[in-house]
């Protein structure tokens, strides 16, 4: 492996969260053997290449972990087939499951962001303040801006943590609405009975 790939391997091993390409690119000036005047784009391109090399090195059947692109970053994760024995031995705990109410709210925020509480309430048909607070507390959504209009309502959006618990690289990996079996369509005008 190249020196940069080995440096990235060490950094990714040391970190317990996904590291973004930008973060990883800051590691490498000496490793890449470039001077001060190096452009950020060049460092990122080299980092990208080294990441590909590193992922290739861990991709084979010879390893229990793999390098995964997730939540806009990169992270070493255990392979799926080992989840059960590790969990049984209780070396690691599974994350708590999200309630249906929390998932509903997450889905609405993910697709409508930035979105205010009133819109979430309206779609769910339930007061969602407590659920929103809980999701903010868990770091899955955050206040991203304030809306126009009465009281300048807080608007929520999803966080990288949201992508991480779903194993998504980015929001564009969510299913498109028109791919769902229930596509939104205006109801046909009905005749009186």
């Amino acid at each position: 492996m190249s020196p940069l790939a080995k440096l990235l391997e060490a950094a990714l091993f040391a970190a317990s969260r996904p590291l973004t390409l930008e973060e990883l690119a800051t590691l490498g000036p000496e490793a890449a053997g470039e001077g001060e005047g190096e452009e950020g784009g060049e460092a990122e391109a080299e980092t990208r290449a080294a990441l590909a090399e590193l992922r290739g090195a861990w991709a084979g059947e010879d390893h229990g972990v793999e390098l995964v692109e997730i939540a806009g970053g990169w992270q070493f994760l255990t392979r799926r087939e080992y989840a059960e024995p590790i969990e049984r031995a209780q070396f690691a705990l599974r994350p708590r499951r999200l309630s249906p109410a929390a998932l509903e709210t997450l889905a609405i925020v993910a697709y409508r962001q930035p979105v205010g509480r009133l819109e979430v309430d309206e779609i769910r048909g339930v007061d969602s303040e407590a659920v929103l607070d809980k999701l903010v507390e868990r770091g899955l959504i955050e206040i991203v801006s304030r809306g126009e209009g009465l009281g300048r309502p807080l608007l929520y959006g999803t966080t990288p943590q949201f992508l991480e618990i779903l194993g998504l690289k980015g929001l564009d990996q969510l299913p498109r609405l028109d791919e769902l079996s229930v596509a939104l369509r205006p109801p046909a005008p009905a005749e009186p009975e």
Binding site: R80, A83, A92, L103, E122, I123, G167, L168, L174, V182
Partner: protein, 248 residues
């Protein structure tokens, strides 16, 4: 959640709702459940029937205390009433009072489908563990505060320093110089029998000057030292000495 039931929508009352409270995340969820259970067409809802079922279920589950469910029950009953008296929109068009509810149900159904997708993604993600993975534990009670008094005071000062000055209307005391104005007017009274407003306040009076002069003029008029007259509406005020005795 969708208990497959035989296509027999005629016997909803006897089907016996075995449902738990947590099973429904809201009135729309419950409605969808009823619709699926009876395999009804969501775009052509038999409102009367669904309203009765809805009321029966929330009574049974004790949800009739919950505002969200009650609001939906009221909405269903209103739609049921409106269906008896449809309103004409155009020549051949009739307003369907159900359309708003149907739109919301479809929208909500879409969200439920996304929930299923998110759930699967989360389950699949949970099969892979990161290094030193520690699940977030928001249930932990917050650590007891251990701070020094000085730190607390310093923190309080920082917070107070951040509070912007409230933008309230402030009354600025501007002392009126009524005595000065009175002296000036009395001097004028001695010199002239009759003079105008501008003689009292000068060419470019400040607000304070005007007020002071006005108050002292009224006061002197009350005392009988002078007489105020205005020959025509909006004409200049004429100030006239009342009696030589007072002016002296």
């Amino acid at each position: 959640m969708t208990a497959p039931s035989p296509t027999n929508p005629v016997l909803p009352e006897q089907s016996g709702f075995v449902v738990e409270l947590e099973q429904f995340s809201g009135p729309l969820d419950l409605l969808l459940h009823l619709i699926r259970e009876d395999e009804l067409d969501i775009t052509d809802l038999p409102i009367a029937k669904i309203a009765d079922q809805f009321l029966a279920v929330i009574n049974e589950l004790g949800l009739n205390q919950a505002a969200d469910y009650l609001e939906m029950a009221a909405r269903l009953l209103r739609i049921k009433a409106q269906l008896l008296l449809p309103r004409r929109l155009g020549d051949d068009e009739w307003e369907d009072p159900r359309s708003e509810l149907v739109r919301r149900l479809l929208e909500y159904q879409q969200i439920r489908e996304l929930v299923g997708w998110l759930q699967q993604a989360a389950t699949r993600r949970a099969e892979q563990l990161g290094r030193g993975y520690a699940p977030p534990s928001p249930e932990l009670p917050p650590a007891p505060l251990e701070i020094e008094l000085n730190d607390l005071l310093a923190a309080a000062e920082r917070v107070i320093a951040l509070i912007p000055e409230p933008m309230l209307h402030r009354v600025v005391p501007r002392p009126l110089d009524v005595e000065g104005a009175t002296a000036r007017i009395q001097a004028l009274l001695v010199a002239q029998e009759e003079f105008g407003w501008s003689d009292v306040v000068g060419a470019r009076p400040s607000v304070v000057d005007v007020l002071s002069a006005f108050i002292s003029l009224l006061e002197l008029a009350k005392r009988g030292a002078l007489r105020l007259a205005q020959p025509a509406p909006f004409a200049p005020v004429v100030i006239r000495r009342e009696s030589p005795r007072e002016a002296a």
